[in-house]
């Protein structure tokens, strides 16, 4: 290991940190909103809507993210005339948009399952109590069901955040120079993979450490003395629960 080289590449790789963070933040925010919609559609009684939502979740969790990214980025190029007619080519032309779109759809599929589990965990008694005091359906969702579901889902969502930080590295395969993209460029020019791995890896670990702490802090804030504590669930296998 060459310490001088290691120090030399720290600023170069640090330049990719804001890009990684922005990519993750945008995708998580959009993905969470989409996930709530998907989870609600899956839980509503209309079989057609529920089936479509299930199909979306299934396909995005059963295929590699890399395929999804390439399908959206390089695949859209094959339909450029059509997309131009629709006026959406300006969006697909942009690598950043394609990366955020792929990551958003992907995290939405995983997150919707987390939210669905959270919604289903809300004790029936709480909902009945809300009805008893005369809450409307919207009020009930906003004040009772959703907050309780989010609290229940937080630990699993924390895990999803870390998976997204890691997943954002795949944006490097479609010309976006975030941490991994810069790392690859340096390796290709210097042939020194170990130093690059140490520095880039340290940045990712630091990001994930902060993210984990943030989620724990949120859990702590949301946990109240009256909250029902649940025994940890037995391990179950979900379809492709990991990315």
């Amino acid at each position: 290991m060459d310490l001088g080289f290691l120090i030399e590449i720290i600023p170069r790789l640090a330049a990719g940190v804001p890009t990684t963070l922005l990519l993750v933040a945008q995708s998580l925010a959009l993905g969470f909103a989409l996930a709530v919609v998907v989870a609600l559609v899956r839980l509503q009684p209309n079989p057609l809507g529920a089936g479509a939502a299930y199909g979306f979740v299934y396909v995005f969790r059963a295929t590699p993210l890399l395929v999804q990214i390439f399908l959206i980025y390089y695949g859209s190029g094959q339909f450029r005339p059509v997309l131009e007619d629709l006026g959406v080519w300006v969006l697909f032309r942009d690598a950043w948009f394609c990366a955020v779109l792929a990551l958003t759809l992907n995290t939405a599929a995983y997150t919707s399952e987390i939210i669905r589990a959270g919604l289903q965990s809300v004790p029936l008694g709480q909902i009945e109590a809300g009805r008893a005091v005369g809450m409307s359906r919207l009020q009930l969702f906003r004040r009772v069901t959703f907050p309780l579901a989010v609290r229940q889902a937080l630990p699993a969502y924390g895990n999803e955040v870390i998976l997204m930080v890691k997943a954002s590295s795949l944006a490097s395969t479609i010309t976006i120079l975030e941490i991994t993209g810069i790392a690859k460029t340096i390796i290709a020019a210097s042939f020194r993979p170990v130093e690059v791995f140490v520095v880039a890896g340290a940045f990712y670990l630091a990001i994930n450490f902060v993210a984990t702490r943030a989620v724990r802090f949120a859990e702590h804030r949301l946990a109240t003395a009256s909250a029902p504590t649940r025994a940890p669930a037995a391990p179950t296998r979900q379809l492709a629960a990991t990315r």
Binding site: V59, A62, F70, G75, G77, Q78, A183, V194, G201, P235
Partner: protein, 236 residues
């Protein structure tokens, strides 16, 4: 979209894509098997009384699970040859070149991650087995191998199966990443065909369908395995 591009034989890419799928399956199985072995070793270290062993295993799983797989692959791929030659020259005094077949390199890349994830699964499963059962086995005079074979392994296997199923799905999907090091599996084959025919959507869609089929199939396999492992377990 021109479906004749997917024809079998010399005119189309159908047979190449199928061959890519076979490579994907083989490398996933090899990496998964190696990963579970690494995971079992790490789990044993995590439960060991010796602190440095525990520290090492914790460090390994924390680092590998916190870093993108793509970075790990670049490290193993670009750094693996150098490390191998350092070992050869340090331990065997050989200073020439040794190579690992690309398939082996790809397998190791993926097994490094699979090991970290399965370590957590296996440790969790071991801890579920009540201590009293092992004590009872000692009391009735079972030997160590007997205790392992009759008490620990069947129960750990049952509890670990769902988690190990997840690790398999992860490994299977991660095989797409090793296309960057040139192993001609589904993804690399799709990229080559996409570039050659200028129909990227067609070929990445084919790739997606192949992965979808593989995950769905293996999911059924694990369902069956879980049913088998849970035979004789009373449901509450």
């Amino acid at each position: 979209m021109d479906l004749s591009l997917l024809a079998w034989g010399d005119a189309g890419w159908g047979d190449q894509m199928a061959r890519g799928a076979v490579v994907t399956i083989l490398v996933a199985i090899a990496a998964y098997a190696l990963g579970v072995v690494i995971g079992a070793g790490l789990a044993a270290m995590k439960l060991a009384p010796l602190a440095p062993l525990r520290w090492f295993a914790e460090l390994y799983t924390t680092v590998i699970r916190g870093i993108p797989e793509l970075l790990v692959i670049y490290l193993v791929f670009f750094g693996g040859g150098t490390a191998l030659r350092a070992i050869a020259s340090g331990m065997f005094g050989y200073d020439g070149y040794i190579e690992l077949p690309i398939f082996v390199t790809g397998t190791i890349c993926l097994a490094v991650s699979a090991g970290a994830y399965s370590a957590e699964v296996i440790r969790g499963a071991v801890q579920v087995v009540p201590k009293g059962q092992l004590e009872a086995a000692v009391a009735v005079g079972m030997s160590r191998p007997q205790r392992l074979r009759r008490i620990l392994v069947p129960q750990v296997a049952r509890h670990a199966l769902p988690g190990l199923g997840n690790v398999w799905q992860l490994t299977l999907k991660d095989t797409s990443l090793i296309s960057v090091i040139g192993l001609v599996e589904i993804m690399r084959q799709a990229a080559v065909a996409a570039g050659s025919t200028k129909e990227p959507f067609t070929f990445y869609l084919v790739a997606a369908v192949l992965y979808l089929g593989l995950t769905s199939l293996s999911n059924r396999g694990f369902d069956a395995a879980e049913r088998w492992a849970n035979k004789g377990v009373r449901r509450a």
